[in-house]
């Protein structure tokens, strides 16, 4: 197994300080800043891609609106989303629930049976 396949910690050892009266507020601040970071990164990516594609006449804005990802790309997106959740919700102490199991909960609650792609 190469190093790249292994999982190494991103977390700092020790107790995180609480600056607000309710520690939940500290956790929300973590989530907020991670969300802002992700938003900024995403904004830049979208801006870059759209500009390049349109400038090179590869695609029109209308075609961009209609596009959808294939299954393999959606699988990668799911993993990226879990990484995002683990960054944003780390201070809340909750383990990150998989998209698949969350969908199952939703299905059970709604009595539906959405066909899911196993990730």
């Amino acid at each position: 197994m190469s190093n790249t396949d292994k999982v190494f910690t991103l977390d700092t050892r020790g107790k995180r300080p609480s600056f607000f009266n309710a520690p939940e507020t500290d956790a929300v601040m973590t989530a907020l800043l991670e969300t802002m970071s992700q938003l900024w990164a995403t904004r830049n990516q979208v801006r870059t891609l759209e500009q390049l594609l349109i400038e090179k006449s590869v695609i029109t804005r209308e075609e961009l609106e209609r596009f959808d990802f294939n299954t393999s790309e959606k699988t990668k997106d799911n993993q990226a989303m879990l990484d995002f959740f683990s960054d944003a919700f780390r201070a809340m102490g909750a383990s990150v629930q998989s998209i698949d199991s969350r969908q199952k909960d939703v299905d059970e609650a709604q009595g539906s049976n959405t066909k899911r792609v196993k990730t």
Binding site: T9, T12, G14, L33, Q45
Partner: protein, 391 residues
């Protein structure tokens, strides 16, 4: 903003990771400039006037301000961005671990291996091993699987994000500013042997070699992860310096054998007991006429209570437990107790060398500077503080 580091060990993240690093860096710049200024203004206009007694030190300011919204939001954002510095550096490093391992191996194999001396029996002192210093996961000595250099790579890449472009394009502005100050102020001083204590990846050690090219320059540190990476980093940049795994409290150098004992941002990570040992060791190994010089944060007694509180923040919340106790010391007494003479002490404040042209720098250091709120603080108007003694 974090520009690419000037060596081939630099790992660029993908577009998303690079954007996140830019965000974290930008947010730190905003916090340390705009938000910190707003907090100070708020303290002066709203908080201090309501107090029964004007605070006499940073601790009292901390007590007075920590219940206020402005402090809570500032601190929460500072703490979170510090974590995000490391997280945003680690993901690209993990993604490129195997490639970076190969690169370090190639660079190291092509260079002079005798320039790196590791000690497998080196004890890692508790100030490094017991906590994640600066909140950096795994601290300076972090190793991830076979990536026995990870602590160094994380420090280098993390510092680049952390410093939001204020430590020079090679992260060596401190070393360059200090070495240039000495070279320009003391023309007759021509050191042959230079030591950099707690050198981490040698970014500031290289600066001494560039300033004094004929000197033999050695960086020492207890963390082999930093030294292995630093050795390759220096080789890659064509800078001929030595790296030795060693504890600065017990130097493996003979008495009267060294011309400069330097450190940067190092003493404040040590207990006062160990600082005394470091200074005593510096005095022992220095030749008569040699120089001990430590770049550091200014002592608390030189700052206003608010500015002292502002710098002390890191002691409370950034896993730097000795930061405040060090800065509470009498820096003069520390040097005298180590054996240096009162008439041979030196203190300096210097602007940032790598951000000025050479002539302007020479002019700037001719004007004696005093401490102000920007001394040692990453914000606009930054200047570095150094203190030491001639033996």
């Amino acid at each position: 903003m974090p520009a690419p580091l000037k060596h081939s060990l630099y790992v660029k993240g993908n577009s998303e990771q690079a954007s996140k690093q830019t965000f974290v860096s930008g947010l730190r710049g905003f916090l340390l400039n705009d938000m910190a200024a707003a907090m100070k203004e708020r303290y002066i206009s709203d908080i201090e006037p309501t107090m029964a007694q004007i605070p006499e030190n940073g601790e009292e300011v901390h007590e007075a301000i920590k219940g206020t919204g402005v402090f809570k939001f500032y601190s929460s954002m500072r703490y979170n961005t510090q974590e995000m510095v490391w997280r945003s550096a680690l993901r690209p490093l993990h993604r490129s671990m195997d490639k970076l391992s190969q690169r370090i191996d190639v660079v190291s194999a092509n260079g002079d291996k005798s320039k790196l001396t590791l000690n497998p029996n080196q004890h890692i002192p508790k100030n490094v091993s017991a906590i994640d210093v600066h909140l950096a996961p795994g601290s300076y000595h972090r190793e991830d699987g076979s990536a026995d250099w990870m602590g160094g790579a994380l420090y280098d890449h993390g510092l680049n994000i952390f410093s939001f472009g204020m430590m020079g394009e090679n992260l060596d502005d401190i070393g360059q500013s200090m070495a240039q100050y000495i070279a320009r102020k003391f023309h007759d001083f021509s050191p042959s042997i230079i030591l950099d204590l707690g050198c981490t990846v040698g970014h500031n050690t290289c600066a001494w070699k560039l300033t004094f090219p004929d000197a033999e320059v050695t960086g020492i540190d207890v963390a082999s992860a930093c030294l292995k990476y630093g050795h390759a980093r220096a080789l890659d940049q064509g800078v001929d310096i030595n790296f030795k795994q060693m504890d600065a409290t017990a130097l493996d150098f003979s008495d009267n054998s060294v011309d400069v004992v330097f450190s940067s941002m190092f003493l404040h990570e040590l207990s006062v007991k160990d600082i005394r040992k470091v200074m005593a060791e510096a005095h022992r190994v220095l030749r008569p006429g040699g120089l001990m010089l430590h770049m550091e944060l200014p002592p608390n007694d030189s700052l206003s209570p608010f500015d002292a509180f502002y710098l002390d923040w890191d002691a409370y919340y950034n896993n730097e437990p000795y930061y405040k106790s060090f800065r509470d010391q009498d820096f003069t007494q520390l040097r005298l107790d180590a054996g240096f003479k009162a008439e041979r002490l030196i203190e300096l404040i210097t602007p940032q060398y790598t951000y000025m042209d050479s002539a302007a720098y020479s002019q700037a250091i001719d004007v004696e500077q005093g401490f102000d709120g920007n001394t040692g603080r990453l914000a606009e108007g930054l200047q570095w503080f150094g203190f030491g003694a001639w033996k």
